[in-house]
């Protein structure tokens, strides 16, 4: 094997194994056919092209997804610019941050409506929190930074050159969104996030409208709706403080902003994966659950001195049980699960303790981090709902994953943000109409 062939084969590792077995030899032959004599490395452009297509293959991206991205792109830009204008106009005067630099970039991007302007706005948004560190001004909160970045990426990914009329539509929609946000904001915005939750209603209604269009116009609109739902998930729950049920944080992990973002994101990704006919595997689900449990255990061991809170013990037990019921775990998934849980746990801890590594109440942080168990539970539940055969052990695993997810989220139903309501309603309607499961073997279909 020549060095070039060896390097080409290494590049193909980006493709999923099944596809590689089927098409690998052929693609390598083509790469070798087009190589110049004496060439030792695949060209950079070929390598980038292969990596992009391999990623698309792994994620299950289809032509409908591309069409959905193109539909969502101008809306994403209008929403980003509209919300920026609103926040600049109504929230900044009360809660000053370095935000206006970011918001101005978005308003400008909507007027220019070109990819480079949007990419610039994304870059400024990403830099702003760090830039704020070197000034006396506050940074804009992540609740606005993250949605703006995701909306910008959707725009960059899907937007072709808009016509003059489309550009006018984007600016007009942005203005309409900014004005609509004003009457629905809370009377006294104490902090950014409660305002953004209410603002999220506007985006959630947009997602719902797009999903309704999908009934007549087909899948691309469903993809567009789900793409817009990703940033909308970040606008957070309704009033995370005052609805609290009478449990202290040590006995129960309480639903809050973290749980809302994780839950809504998982639901959106599950719906996207369902559309792309992904189904996951039991060994990966098992690995993520066991690895996640191990990662959390490591986190608890390193951060807590005394006894573990009961909520943490329950979480580790639930994840362990789930993993055992799902059968033999995949080693890779176990390692990814453990590393992800631990890393995200530390990130959540640092964030929720005001960007500090000294945590005055580690037990409280440990219970907050228990909410990350929604991730492996969501993967397991998704796989089991997609599975065509269900053994009693898998049925029990379904009860554990859905039960634990329900325990963490349902008691707080009054705190759900507008997007979670929309997603739940759409899932329920779709399940009733059986649109969600046209594959004949699906369990959901057999149950309904």
């Amino acid at each position: 094997m020549t060095p070039l062939e060896r390097r080409c084969r290494r590049l193909l590792l980006a493709y999923p194994p099944g596809y590689r077995a089927e098409r690998g030899d052929e693609i390598v032959s083509t790469l070798l056919d087009e190589a110049r004599p004496g060439q030792r490395y695949p060209t950079l452009r070929d390598a980038i092209d292969l990596l992009i297509h391999a990623t698309r293959r792994r994620v299950g991206v289809t032509a409908d997804f591309d069409a959905g991205l193109a539909i969502a792109a101008p809306w994403a830009l209008a929403i980003a610019a509209g919300i920026s204008a609103f926040v600049w106009w109504q929230v900044e005067p009360l809660i000053p941050t370095v935000g206006p630099a970011v918001y101005a970039a978005w308003v400008l991007a909507a007027m220019v409506a070109r990819r480079f302007a949007v990419a610039m706005a994304v870059a400024i948004t990403a830099i702003a929190p760090f830039a704020a560190l070197s000034t006396s001004a506050e940074r804009p909160p992540l609740w606005i930074v993250v949605p703006l970045i995701v909306l910008g990426l959707i725009t960059c990914g899907g937007m072709l050159k808009p016509t003059a009329e489309q550009r006018l539509n984007i600016v007009a929609s942005a203005a309409a969104i900014a004005v609509t946000c004003a009457p629905i904001k809370p009377a006294l915005p104490g902090y950014y996030q409660p305002v953004l939750t209410r603002v999220g209603i506007v985006v959630a209604v947009g997602v719902l409208a797009m999903m309704t269009l999908a009934l007549r116009r087909g899948r691309p609109y469903l993809y567009a709706a789900l793409l817009l739902a990703v940033p909308a998930a970040w606008f957070g729950p309704i009033d995370a403080v005052n609805w609290q049920i009478g449990l202290d944080y040590v006995t129960a992990a309480r639903f809050g902003r973290l749980a809302h973002v994780v839950t809504a994101t998982c639901v959106v990704i599950a719906m996207l994966s369902w559309l792309s006919r992904q189904s996951g595997t039991a060994s990966r689900a098992s690995g993520l659950a066991l690895g996640g449990g191990a990662g959390y255990t490591l986190f608890l061991t390193l951060t807590l001195d005394g006894a573990w809170p009961s909520a943490s013990i329950a979480t580790v037990t639930a994840l362990g049980l789930l993993g055992l019921l799902l059968g033999r775990p995949s080693l890779t998934a176990s390692l990814i699960g453990a590393a992800t849980y631990f890393t995200l746990g530390v990130a959540v801890g640092v964030y929720s303790n005001n960007w500090s590594s000294t945590w005055p109440t580690p037990a409280r942080t440990a219970v907050l981090v228990a909410m990350l168990s929604l991730l492996p539970c969501a993967y397991a539940a998704f796989h089991l709902l997609r599975a065509t055969q269900l053994t009693w052990r898998h049925a029990a695993a379904m009860v554990v994953s859905l039960g634990w997810t329900g325990y963490l989220t349902v008691p707080a139903v009054m705190a759900w943000g507008p997007l979670l309501w929309v997603l739940t309603a759409v899932t329920a309607i779709a399940a009733i109409r059986r649109r969600i499961s046209h594959e004949p073997g699906s369990i959901v279909r057999r149950i309904l």
Binding site: I27, L50, L51
Partner: protein, 105 residues
């Protein structure tokens, strides 16, 4: 709505008979006078999609000088789709030429 240009060119490359991946790449480059250069990731992504849509199918396989080659050919649906698209394009081109002639000098 019309076909995208790369799709049209790939189907055209297969019109005269079966070709393997690299053959399609060369032919597309030639047909478009070097304007459209398909890279392997894009090419195989497109071949997968066209196979799924039933416009092309996989034919013979052979190994030459240790290189594995799989040949692709148009299906009946593929022939029809290409004919329709060619008719549409030539109709539009003829209409444009005719109207340009009516233009006062």
């Amino acid at each position: 709505m019309g076909m995208q240009e790369p799709t049209f060119l790939i189907l055209t490359a297969l019109a005269a008979g079966p070709k393997h991946g690299y053959g399609v790449m060369q032919e597309v480059s030639e047909l478009s006078s070097g304007r459209v250069k398909l890279r392997p990731g894009t090419l195989y992504g497109a071949l997968d999609r066209l196979t799924e849509q039933g416009l092309i199918s996989v034919g013979d396989e052979e190994i030459v000088d240790g290189r594995f080659r799989r040949f692709y050919e148009l299906t009946d649906d593929g022939v029809t789709a290409l004919e329709d698209e060619a008719r549409r394009l030539s109709h539009n081109a003829a209409a444009a030429t005719a109207r340009l002639k009516q233009r006062p000098a």
